[in-house]
Amino acid sequence: MLPEIGQVALVLALLVSLLQATLPLAGAQRGRTSWMSVARPAAFAQLLLVLCAFLVLTVSFVMQDFSVRYVAENSNSLLPVIYRYTAVWGSHEGSLLLWALILAGWTGAVAEFSRKLPDEVVARVLGVMGLVSVGFLSFLIFTSNPFARLLPAVAEGRDLNPLLQDPGMIIHPPMLYLGYVGFVVPFAFAVAALIDGRMDARWLRWTRPWTNVAWGFLTLGIAIGSWWAYYELGWGGWWFWDPVENASFMPWLVGAALLHSQAVTEKRGSFRGWTVLLAIAAFSLSLLGTFLVRSGVLTSVHAFAADPARGLFILIFLAIVVGGSLLLYALRAPRFEEGAPFAASSRETLLLANNLLLVSACGMVLLGTLYPLLADALDLGKISVGPPYFGFLFVLLMTPLVLLLPFGPLTRWQREQPSKPLAMLAPWAILALVLGAVAYFTAPQGPLKTAAGVAGSAWALLGTARFVWTRFKGNGRRFTPEMLGMTLAHTGIAVFLVGALLVEAQNTQRELPLAPGQTVEVGKYAFRFEGVEETQGPNYVSDLGHVQVLRDGKPVTLLHPEKRAYASGGQVMTEAGIHSGVFGDVYVALGEPLGAADDPDRANGAWAVRVHIKPFVRWIWLGAALMALGGFVTALDRRFRAKPVQAATTEQRA
């Protein structure tokens, strides 16, 4: 009975979103207040209904209702309770329901916090969000129904994919989706502005915090995914340029460009058309990401065995969203007025460079990700694009970005003597170069990358500090949350650079056969393999390894890498044993027993063991966390809220 309630709630949500997509938009065109006023209640009703459906599915999982096909396929009576909650988004149907819930959540939030905006703007924005909801809810209902019954019910479910039975997986998808779907807000505002034919800086100011928050969540989502891959896949890598990683990275890059271009448009009125285009691109790339992951066209660790009807549906949906909004852009964008003019040496120019570099990086990733699909379609053979392609071009594009980064905040809008920021930053540039040189000569291995990491990071950090100092030195000049957010995010880049480049340069990795009692030395550490014992987990049997880590003959820690065999399906999972520290991780993963296959006692013999020493690897995620924090802090700036309230009301009175 309960699943049918969820089903009905979903269908009602679709009907409500149809209402939300049509009446307010038509009302805004014709100036009918009664039609426009439908938008807000419809948004709340839709949120309530989707939430109801989501709760029903959660209850079905917790109660282990194996008559629901989706539950039977992704749960098992042995599954620990906490993972029964998170199994809801463990596979295709449920994760789309989460997508729809988050979309409804963002829509509800916009409806709630937009009370001070003009009615037409709210009606248009909620109407556009309603259109997106219609697309997603019909996708959910017609191609991926999570409430489909399995009758007669099976006695036992197939179990959640063991890779997903992990704390990181609890928060990775919701964070990522909050980011992906969050870009719907700037998108809806951009489309509303296009329909209206003009872009008001006050509304734009209102959307800026939303973009920042969405981008912050996306940053966290990607970082958690990377951290999860690091400890769960047992390869010790943190980024693989896997198509699905790329799919989430593209909206991130464009989102970062959008943040900066929105700031220019809001403050100076320039780049109006460009900002709108970026807002469309960021959301379209989020949709493309969903399409790439869900359609099964890509060979990737994330790909599910998928139904071609789903791929076709998303492809058509994508074509409508991208095609429709670009057509609207072509028709309406030329109407936007031009902003204040700016000189070649100005903050606008620097931010333009930032945008060009970020968008080029996104284009490069897009090309590398879609090229195999293109080649396949043109019958050029089955190819894959290797990580060196991405690595080479990404470093090439990001180097100028890091070099220009400290100049941005120190350069004035409109016109600046180039000598002024140069003079302010010159001593710090020299210091950064000296630090890089010191790193070059002291690095035990990979001197070039180490030097680049140290110098680049010092440059970004010192340049940002120079800006903070300038602000505090100036009398009576405020340090706003917006500036604090920028400072945090740019510091995050400095921290990330240390992590990414130093772990690349200083990483030590060995794969060795180890017999119980044997000791090997890797780098400064010695590892004594104490053997493997069999233990029983809630829904798996585990070969639990004991590895004593020593440094200078003194014990550092005892690591427990695991090899788990899950009871249902017999999947084997690696759990790495990690000793983490600020300056590096020691990482041990079990491979497989090396004894003869017919030896019943082989688990007690020698094992293949993978040992990594990863200096500064934590800094990668710490840097990402700082960037995300920067996005959130920026959104707190009162300027984004207080001013439009007054301006909007005075305008209404007038």
Binding site: T299, K382, P388, Y389, M573, L594, G595
Partner: protein, 161 residues
């Protein structure tokens, strides 16, 4: 020429040069880092090309791990197995730890190159969903199956004089 127009002209010229450099770099990077997927039959039959059979080109080998082909020297990190596409088998050697889902009769994609008659793999990937066969491998295996199967009407029509 007025100064605004002159500036625009310079900007356009700069843009053209920048995009030319970008296109060249991207094309070069792509060309050097693209790896083709071949099945054992294509490698042994020579369709994969001279560079692949001679061992100079790096490529990806796709197929199923042949039954009873997996061997490991006791206590050694080196493993040997065969990859099959139903038509032909190719022996593979790999030194290192195999992925968790590596198993006989499962789809596998290995990156490496030929050395003599053996494919020396640098990286072996097996996919994490047991019902999932990588699409590109499925496509290629499908081709092999078609060849062995009954002629489809289209083939028969094409064969008719």
């Amino acid at each position: 020429m007025n100064p605004i127009r002159k500036r625009r002209l310079w900007m356009i010229a700069a843009l053209v040069v920048a995009s030319a450099i970008a296109v060249t770099l991207v094309a070069l990077a792509l060309q050097r880092n693209v790896a083709y997927l071949y099945t054992p039959a294509e490698v042994l039959g020579g369709q994969a090309g001279e560079a692949v059979s001679a061992g100079t080109a790096k490529f990806r080998l796709g197929g199923m791990v042949a039954e009873h082909s997996f061997k490991r020297e006791e206590g050694s990190m080196e493993v040997r197995f065969a990859v099959t596409d139903g038509d032909a088998q190719l022996p593979v050697s790999y030194t290192g730890i195999l992925p968790d889902l590596f198993r006989e009769n499962q789809a596998v994609v290995a990156t490496g190159h030929m050395r003599g008659d053996t494919f020396v793999a640098e990286q072996v990937l097996a996919k994490h969903d047991e019902t999932y066969v990588p699409k590109e491998v499925a496509d290629k295996m499908g081709l092999a199956h078609q060849k062995h199967g009954v002629q489809t009407p289209a083939d028969a029509a094409a064969d008719a004089p």
